[in-house]
């Protein structure tokens, strides 16, 4: 336990560490990723027990603030918080003051008044979690902001890869589809770079961002060399008038859809969900034993437990600061 003593100015302990958030994979180091995956493994073994609840975050409040519809992410965060015995409060934009035109800042200030420990936010606009981090005192977890980042998805995908393929470094993953509008792809690219996974982006020319630092190609044949094919969701709105990223979903499916014929035997397939069967992924692929889609969902729960635990229990940043304070 720390005792607080009055000290002269020049002996003042260092500033407390900045509040910890998970806003973007770009903010993480490789060590952070390894620590989070390790914590997730610990929680996974705990979930094998008959009573799955751990007392770790008892008395903490986790607010889930969802401005976009979501099944797996919102349920997985809620369950993760509950398994760790935290109190949870879920606010969805429909039916809240957001419907009455309240700004994000004002909603954040309102929820901040309850002193939540963590605010998990999903929002259709880039940088919304950063804004909430500026105006509240909570730890912020980005559960998806527009086309920017979805860091917990990338972490759960790394966890899945590690569990299923036994390693991360040296793997080759092909990400296929609408990379331009994909927050999952952006987070994955950065996460893959951190842990040494080679990544190839495959998709229609207009859906591959210009000047993105990555291997890109429109040739679907490029997936054959990869250990894992990561399939992105292809949305109807990309073919609407004025968009014309591709001529039709039919043509997209024919050129870039993932079918058994395009895969090598035993090649693993991942998808962040929700799937459009018959568009970006063939029914037979989605239901095959090489599809890791349900494993990804299960990984989501333990990885999100690890993220909440890590933010609230300090981690190495907090430990170092505490040690420094004691020396002073």
């Amino acid at each position: 336990m720390t005792t607080i003593r009055l000290v002269r100015d020049d002996l003042r302990p260092p500033e407390p560490p900045p509040r910890r958030h998970l806003l973007s994979i770009a903010d993480l180091e490789r060590d952070d990723v390894e620590r989070l995956l390790g914590t997730a493994r610990t929680f996974e073994s705990a979930l094998d027990r008959e009573v799955k609840k751990l007392p770790t975050l008892k008395g903490r409040l986790v607010v889930n603030l969802f401005y976009e519809s979501s099944t797996r992410t919102s349920s997985s965060f809620e369950l993760a918080a509950k398994r760790l015995s935290a109190d949870t409060l879920t606010v969805k934009s429909a039916g809240s003051s957001v419907d009455k035109g309240e700004s994000l800042k004002d909603t954040a200030l309102t929820l901040g008044a309850y002193d939540p420990d963590v605010i998990v936010i999903r929002h259709p606009q880039i940088g919304a979690p950063q804004l909430v981090a500026r105006v509240t005192d909570a730890h912020i977890v980005n559960a998806g902001d527009g086309t920017h980042q979805h860091p917990t998805q990338a972490l759960l995908d790394l966890y899945t890869l590690q569990q299923q393929l036994g390693r991360l470094e040296g793997l080759h993953v092909a990400i296929v589809g609408d990379v331009l509008h994909s927050r999952v792809a952006r987070s994955l690219l950065q996460a893959f770079e951190l842990v040494g996974i080679r990544c190839t982006l495959v998709g229609p020319p207009a859906l591959l961002p210009r000047e993105l630092r990555a291997e890109t190609t429109s040739d679907i044949g490029a997936i054959r060399g990869a250990d894992v094919v990561y399939v992105l969701r292809m949305q109807q709105e990309r073919i609407e008038a004025g968009a014309n990223f591709v001529p039709s979903l039919r043509e997209y499916a024919a050129r870039w859809g993932i079918t058994p014929e395009r895969l090598r035997p035993g090649q693993k397939v991942m998808h962040p969900g929700p799937m459009n069967r018959g568009v970006e992924i063939d029914q037979r692929v989605a239901d095959s034993s090489d599809a890791l889609i349900e494993t990804q969902v299960r990984s989501g729960q333990v990885v999100r437990m690890a993220v909440l635990y890590d933010l609230l229990t300090g981690g190495p940043v907090g430990v170092r600061a505490l040690a420094a304070a004691e020396v002073a």
């Binding site: 880039i126 940088g127 950063q130 993105l212």
Partner: protein, 434 residues
């Protein structure tokens, strides 16, 4: 052409300043005596008579600045800026004349609306203002405004700034009709089908952060179109807020071919790149967006060699609550009147990237010539349109110090070198900083 309130004219002697007027070829330590708002004499050890003496030892005295591109938000958004507050900000920035854009609510597209602004400026404006009127009614890009009547009512030029004139056919008609007024068209060049939904320059930063790209080609194709139409109709145009290297290249070709085009660039496009967007701060969101380093370099080269003859701030005030939202939701635009000189001095002149004389010219006589205003100068007989600059002094950009009603500056918290110590506009001492 210019409108401001009536104020007592200055009787002062500015003593011991380094007088720097690139147009007049002066760079010397001189006293300047101003009698009733007119420069009466330049010389050494001038007799102050009864005049007030401003001790300007160590300061630079130069022709005051002219801003070809300001949004005063009046009528319609007086919570963001008024003619009084916007011209006070101009005074603090060293400007002796500013040109106000017509994209207000309602749009300045009739002589009645323009007349009301002229009248208000006659009561409120600290610094003389000239008004532009719209090219098309309501800036909807469908029907031309009554340009002849608007010119008679005081419109100095025509612009749909904020939005482009989409139709090439209508742009041609605008050029044809504007010719009877002798006034140029000031053009916001953006091809909407290419910029659609874009918030950030289409490049590495937009790709990484996930923003919908607003490509530089959205500007340059429109620049090419408008230069071609101006050449065909042999009419003058002014290109607003250029941002892209390709636009600069097109302008160079057109000027070499004899097209009567002028152009401006903003301080933020000269100093920042799209890298600044990584902050996700809505105060670096503007239209056109911040572009890549190669664009910034091309703009700076063009400013240096005179291809771009004017700096325009595109001062665009916005209410705080409208900017404290996620980036994509925020409106385009940043303020600039009060920081323009300092930031360009600190970031371009001080590191040796732009000569001080060039900066002074591009902020004063360059923009004055765009709209046919007599360039401010330090010469006996000329009206006292002067700025006194303290190049040694630093200041911190602090939102409580702004005279603008809005605080959406990209420079909040920054320390800049170069202070506007005093401004004389049309012979009136409109700003003095202790």
């Amino acid at each position: 052409m210019l409108h401001s309130k009536t104020s007592p004219r200055a009787n002062v002697v500015v003593r011991g300043a380094r007088v720097l007027d690139p147009g007049e070829g002066i760079d010397a330590r001189l006293d300047v005596r101003i009698d009733n708002g007119v420069i009466a004499a330049l010389g050494e050890n001038l007799d102050p008579n009864e005049h007030r003496v401003i001790d300007a030892a160590g300061l630079v005295l130069a022709p005051a600045f002219v801003d070809p591109h300001v949004h005063l938000r009046t009528p319609g958004r007086e919570d963001e800026e008024t003619i009084a507050s916007g011209t006070a900000a101009a005074a603090a920035g060293g400007f002796c004349a500013i040109f106000a854009m017509p994209n207000t609510d309602p749009v300045v597209d009739s002589a009645a609306t323009l007349g009301a602004l002229v009248e208000t400026a006659g009561r409120e404006a600290e610094v003389p203002v000239a008004f532009l009127a719209a090219i098309t009614r309501g800036q909807r890009g469908e029907e031309l405004t009554e340009m002849a009547e608007l010119a008679d009512a005081g419109a100095v030029a025509f612009s749909d700034d904020g939005v482009p004139v989409r139709s090439a056919g209508l742009m041609r008609r605008a050029l044809q009709y504007a010719s009877i007024t002798g006034r140029p068209l000031a053009l916001h060049c953006e091809e909407p089908s290419l910029s659609r939904g874009g918030h950030v320059h289409e490049g590495a930063v937009a790709a990484e952060l996930g923003f919908t790209g607003y490509p530089s080609v959205a500007e340059s194709v429109m620049v090419e179109r408008d230069l071609a139409l101006a050449a065909y109709e042999e009419q003058p145009i002014h290109l607003l807020h250029l941002s892209a290297a390709e636009s600069v290249a097109a302008l160079r070709r057109a000027l070499a071919a004899g097209v009567r085009a002028t152009a401006e660039v903003t301080p933020h496009h000269l100093v920042l790149t799209d890298d600044a967007v990584r902050s996700l701060d809505a105060n670096v969101k503007m239209n056109p967006p911040l572009r890549a380093e190669r664009d910034r370099t091309a703009l700076l080269d063009a400013l240096r060699d005179g291809t771009i003859g004017a700096i325009g701030t595109d001062h665009a005030p916005h209410a705080r609550h409208e900017k404290e939202v996620p980036f994509e939701e925020a409106p385009f635009g940043v303020t600039g009147l009060e920081t323009a000189f300092s930031v360009l001095y600190a970031r371009l002149v001080k590191p040796g990237l732009l000569p001080l004389a060039t900066l002074l010219e591009r902020m004063s006589s360059g923009p004055a010539r765009v709209f046919g205003l007599a360039p401010p100068r330090v010469a006996a007989g000329a009206p006292a349109d002067l700025v006194l600059l303290d190049l040694e002094r630093e200041w911190q950009v602090d939102e409580t110090a702004f005279r603008s009603r809005s605080r959406n500056s990209w420079l909040l918290g920054e320390t800049l070198e170069g202070v506007v110590a005093a401004t004389l506009a049309a012979g009136v001492l409109v700003h003095e900083r202790a």
